[in-house]
């Protein structure tokens, strides 16, 4: 934790108010003394792309097909593996007959529990360094706990042969009725997540109250790049090409599952076609591919099919949430109760932490949040973009809208009335919170003051309009990170870290930071990621990638520059010979005296050439922020304003317009940043209106397991999107004041949309997705 944060919440509050009128230029902090620019005697404009619209540096590779994704890797002698999935959801395997399949053309082996060799469990881990959501290794026993659970693996010369062989494996089961019921009850102990005051007492005695239950559907990530592993084994060492959001974690899991020493397993993941959380931890297919490669001593490629993706690589679990709110007639909340369940698999304790934001989003003296799990015969759930907060906010922000209606109060005003001055859950000051600023700017941009609150009262072009809003929040934290920098004597720089770009722009932002710090164009920066042979970088998860890598990168650069300046003053061959290192600086790519402008200096590569150095390296690490006592409450915030159009005679609902304002600190690259938020808005539209994995009641199979049957938004569904960033940097996490933006854009979209639907139709839909039949009234 840095020492330059606001410690006085009152002072912070006044900064908030000022900030809402002048967001761009204000910051949450005064520059600390030791970072005063006065240290440089000559002030000059700095060359930087940080904060500028910057194209992805990997864009040309991607649009020309030169970016090599995991399943693009091919090797001599490579064979293909296709898993056999259970066709029951509960019971056990009594017999596997592979005789016919083994004899089929091109088949190398059919593996099952008795012949694949031992695969091991992963030791418990809470640090996200060797973590998996499904610790049971594949084929550990004969018990089937979910539909599609792998029971065997066919390996053949071609994919088609392997698929045919997998289909020919005859599996006999002892089947029991699966439990995939969508109605959730607590199977384990109810856990109190947060409490203050006496919420029940306050609720019981309140005049104005609300008690409603909300549900969100089970969602499948449906990443466009299918999960895949290409496992290469050379007799000692594994090289695993993986679709992973965390190469380091992936490696640390696989060495345990496969039982090899860390130096004998390398994970590589250069490009990803998104992950949305489903690629954070390794799944069973990775171990199957590795085990097969070891058995056959051949490279093995395994691509998880779209259908298998619905049970084998995680999903966002179904949630059921009871929200109780009570308020005074003036709108002040007197209590909040948020009690939620999510379904989880039979073996794993995945919690969808719906109360993530509930304890600090609003001010209330009385609050109680509880969670519980409900076990079902489903695959292991996992994080999906904005886990916990996204479904949780659907419930709480729908409830706030319902409360506003009961109070006959504008929903924005209700939020302003209940804005807290400190994080009442943690009893800590907010490091940076501008939720009301988001509401005010969003309302302006949207034209919210024109809203007529009467149901169905607003019309345009023969359609009924519905306007709704909701707020959002998401964590702002850092993972530990290690980064290496290298200055080259041709004027380029190389930065490397074992993190990865999941499509969000990590390559580009890395180049921007290095370009900024060295003062060189980003074209001169080589970014090397996605390989565990590099210094250990962070997971791409929790919207923490960029915040995590900045401190280590800047420290590594400082070290390299220090070495450069040392070399410059030590050598008799440079013009700085004999100067003091502290008299020199590197600005705009030039080594120069601090009392002279950088253009009077010498390009760093010239210095290196003069001294005859090929490269100068620097490596540094920075700690994560999860451990240790918090001194402030650090989160990002956001607000969506949504307009829907409703045509009752056709039961046709469309989303026409979304205005989103995000408070996530400094935006390193507004181009990729806006792209993140727009993508999240579209995903939120899918969550609100279309998406839901349907578990078939008799067999427990996800029955809509294809992109034709699992409905996602298409281009024609996309509204006009207007995304704004408040950009109030807070430098507690890193010197730029950048926080992650991968998830915040999805949070709050679904309730804003549901609130708009209510405004248009008068129908309050508390169960997502909102479907046509929900809006057709009693006639259905």
């Amino acid at each position: 934790m840095s020492d330059n944060k606001d410690s006085n919440p009152k002072q912070k509050q006044s900064a908030d108010h000022k900030q809402s009128t002048n967001q761009k230029s204000s910051t949450d902090q005064k520059p600390p003394a030791n970072q005063q620019p006065a240290q440089t005697a000559v002030l000059e404009p700095k060359r930087t792309s940080v904060g500028h619209e910057t194209r992805r540096i990997d864009g040309p590779l991607k649009v020309t097909g030169k970016a090599v994704y995991t399943s693009d890797h091919n090797f001599p002698g490579m064979v293909y593996a296709v898993p056999v999935g259970a066709t029951i959801a509960n019971g056990k395997v009594t017999k596997i007959d592979a005789a016919e399949a083994e004899k089929m053309p091109g088949v190398h082996a059919i593996y099952h529990r008795t012949n694949i060799g031992q695969l091991f469990r992963v030791a418990p881990d809470s640090t996200f360094t060797a973590y998996t959501d499904e610790p049971r290794p594949p084929l550990e026993d004969d018990i089937i706990r979910y539909y599609g659970q792998y029971v065997a693996l066919a390996v053949a010369d071609t994919f088609e042969q392997a698929k045919a062989a997998a289909d020919a494996v005859k599996v006999t089961y002892q089947e029991e009725k699966p439990n995939v019921s969508p109605k959730l009850t607590a199977d384990d102990k109810v856990k109190v997540e947060s409490h203050r005051g006496d919420a029940q007492k306050a609720f019981d005695s309140a005049a104005i109250k609300l008690d409603e239950t909300y549900t969100t559907a089970s969602q499948t990530h449906n990443v466009i790049e299918l999960h895949a592993t290409v496992a290469v084994f050379d007799g000692t060492k594994f090289t695993m090409y993986e679709t992973t959001q965390g190469v380091v974690n992936h490696k640390n899991v696989l060495v345990q599952v496969l039982g090899v020493d860390p130096e004998n397993l390398q994970v590589i993941s250069k490009f990803l076609g998104s992950g949305f959380g489903s690629k954070i931890t390794p799944w069973s297919h990775c171990a199957l591919a590795g085990a097969a490669a070891r058995k056959l001593n051949r490279p093995v490629k395994l691509v998880v099919s779209r259908k298998m993706s619905f049970h084998a690589v995680g999903h966002r679990p179904r949630t059921q949430q009871r929200v109780r709110l009570s308020a005074q007639p003036d709108g002040k909340l007197t209590s909040i109760q948020h009690d939620y369940f999510n379904h989880t698999s039979m073996l794993d304790d995945y919690k969808e932490n719906c109360g993530e934001c509930t304890s600090y989003l609003y001010s209330t003296p009385n609050l109680r949040i509880t969670s519980a799990l409900s076990r079902r015969n489903v695959g292991t759930p996992t994080s999906m973009r904005g886990p916990g907060a996204v479904p949780g906010l659907f419930a709480t922000e729908s409830a706030m809208d319902e409360l506003a209606i009961k109070l006959k109060m504008d929903p924005v005003k209700l939020r302003i009335i209940n804005e807290p001055t400190i994080d009442e859950g943690l009893n800590l000051p907010f490091a940076s919170r501008h939720l009301i600023g988001c509401y005010k700017q969003g309302a302006d941009l949207f034209g919210w003051d024109q809203r007529d609150p009467r149901i169905g009262s607003m019309k345009k072009n023969g359609l009924t309009l519905g306007w709704g809003t909701a707020g959002a929040s998401w964590i702002a934290e850092r993972f530990p990170a290690e980064v290496a920098i290298q200055l080259n004597n041709d004027g380029t720089a190389r930065v490397s870290s074992a993190t990865q770009d999941i499509g969000t722009g990590t390559y580009t932002v890395f180049a921007q930071v290095v370009g900024d710090k060295l003062g060189i164009p980003i074209e001169k920066v080589e970014v090397v990621l996605g390989d565990t042979s590099l210094p250990a970088g962070p997971l791409s998860g929790g919207s923490m990638g960029i915040a995590s890598i900045i401190p280590a990168t800047t420290k590594a650069i400082e070290k390299a520059v220090d070495t450069l300046l040392t070399a410059a003053v030590q050598s008799p061959l440079t013009k700085f010979s004999g100067a003091k290192k502290t008299e020199l600086a590197l600005t705009n790519g030039n080594v120069h005296r601090k009392d002279q402008p950088s253009k009077e200096g010498v390009p760093f590569e010239t210095v290196m050439q003069q001294v005859n150095l090929n490269k100068i390296s620097g490596k540094a690490s920075s700690p994560g922020t999860f451990s240790g006592k918090k001194q402030s409450s650090m989160h990002s915030y956001g607000v969506h304003f949504v307009e829907v159009t409703w045509q009752e005679e056709l039961a046709r609902l469309r989303v026409s317009r979304v205005v989103t304002v995000i408070d996530a600190g400094k935006i390193m690259n507004p181009k990729t940043g806006r792209n993140q938020i727009e993508g999240a808005i579209v995903m939120g539209l899918g969550m609100a209106l279309f998406e839901g994995t349907e578990y078939e009641p008799t067999k427990g199979a996800p029955i809509n397991s294809s992109l034709a049957d699992y409905i996602l938004p298409v281009n024609a569904d996309m509204p006009k999107m207007d995304v704004h960033f408040l950009e109030v940097p807070n430098t507690e996490l890193n010197e730029y004041g950048a926080r992650g933006i991968g998830e915040i854009g999805l949070a709050g979209l679904a309730p804003a949309l549901a609130n708009a639907v209510h405004h248009a139709t008068g129908i309050r839909v508390r169960n997502l997705p909102i479907r046509i039949e929900d809006l057709m009234g009693e006639s259905t």
Binding site: T87, E160, K163, A164, D167, E649, L650, A651, R652, R654, L689, F690, E694, E696, P697, T698, K699, A701, I703, N704, A708, D709, I711, L712, P713, V714, N715, A716, D717, R771, I772, E773, M776, S779, T780
Partner: protein
């Protein structure tokens, strides 16, 4: 996908001759013609279709759209959906057909899919498409998993206790309203079948979907001109705005004379086990004024015999609203 042999032919007679070795032209056929392949390949990958032999008929000389002397049109079976939809004569004379085609699938699929193949489009019932489930259409006598399963997308008209799968076609709903004629060449020569007699209800044999016999090859579809002064349209309702099968659709043709509907043709999509012509709606409409009230009466008549399943009761009302609105559009155009 099962191993199969593949042959290509550019002659109608040889296609018919090769196809005649089939035991059935319905589900379970061991020999299949393949044209655009947009359904066939899909079902083969799912192991729902497991032919031993595919006969590629893409090179048959059946790719013309010809106007006939009476002002009608004769469409070759190999005419691609996109070519048919964008053909100037189709756009100007058979708006309902052009609109129906363009409401379906995606440009890529429409560039492949053919007129003949599209007439035989199969259901999207998830249980039909998943061989782990019972399905009387795929495997006669195995049962119907949809009846007790997730049946939101299923049919409400023409169902039986053996099958509730809905017909997902857009084009064929328009052709039903246009009273198209299907031209078939078979081992016993040529024949013409009105589209109203082409599809068969599931009844006790949902595996049989139409009147085609082994060796039968659809060569053309012909359409008579619509009555002078009539208007037509196709309206499709679905969850998302594009690229999805319908929850309800309607193809309507009306001719209004002296403030009364003189001619009406109505067909409904996505609610029937086959593309669903509604003579009940037509007879309500003819002779009445084109009013919202009469449209609703027609819609009520069309859905009078609808039988909902556990998850799709809303489709009845949705289909009524769809038809009512389509009639409004076509009579106020």
């Amino acid at each position: 996908m099962k191993q199969f042999t593949y042959t290509k032919t550019s002659e109608i007679n040889s296609a018919v001759q090769e196809g005649s070795a089939n035991k059935t032209a319905q589900q379970g056929a061991e020999i299949r013609f393949i044209a655009g392949g947009t359904t066939m390949l899909d079902l083969m990958k799912l192991m729902v279709e497991t032919p031993n032999k595919l006969i590629d008929i893409n090179h048959l000389p059946l790719d013309k759209i010809e106007t006939t002397s009476g002002g009608g049109v004769k469409v070759g079976a190999m005419v691609r959906n996109s070519d048919l939809a964008h053909h100037p004569y189709i756009k100007s004379h058979y708006q309902v057909l052009s609109e129906a085609l363009l409401s379906g699938a995606s440009p890529q699929l429409r560039n492949m899919a053919t007129t003949g193949g599209n007439l035989l489009q199969r259901t999207r019932c998830v249980y039909f498409r998943d061989t782990e489930f019972a399905c009387n259409k795929r495997e006669p006598g195995s049962g119907c998993a949809a009846i007790d399963g997730d049946n939101r997308m299923m049919a409400v008209l023409g169902t039986s206790d053996k099958c509730i799968a809905s017909n997902p076609s857009d084009m064929n709903v328009a052709l039903m309203a246009l009273e198209a004629t299907i031209h078939i060449t078979g081992k016993d020569g040529d024949r013409e079948i009105p589209i109203s007699q082409f599809y068969t209800l599931p009844g006790n044999s949902p595996d049989v979907e139409n009147v085609l016999k082994p060796g039968d090859l659809i060569t053309h579809v012909s359409i008579q001109p619509m009555p002078p002064g009539s208007n037509s349209t196709y309206l499709k309702l679905r969850d998302r705005a594009s690229y999805e099968f319908a929850l309800a659709s309607a193809a309507v043709i009306t001719q209004v004379k002296d403030g009364k509907i003189a001619h009406a043709r109505v067909a409904l999509g996505a609610v029937g086990t086959i593309p669903w012509r509604s003579p009940e709606a037509e007879s309500v409409l003819v002779g009445t004024a084109p009013t919202a009230e009469n449209f609703r009466k027609a819609a009520d008549a069309a859905l009078k015999d609808a039988k909902p399943q556990t998850h799709n009761k809303f489709k009845i009302e949705l289909s009524k609203r769809c038809l009512t609105h389509a009639l409004k559009l076509v009579t106020t155009a």
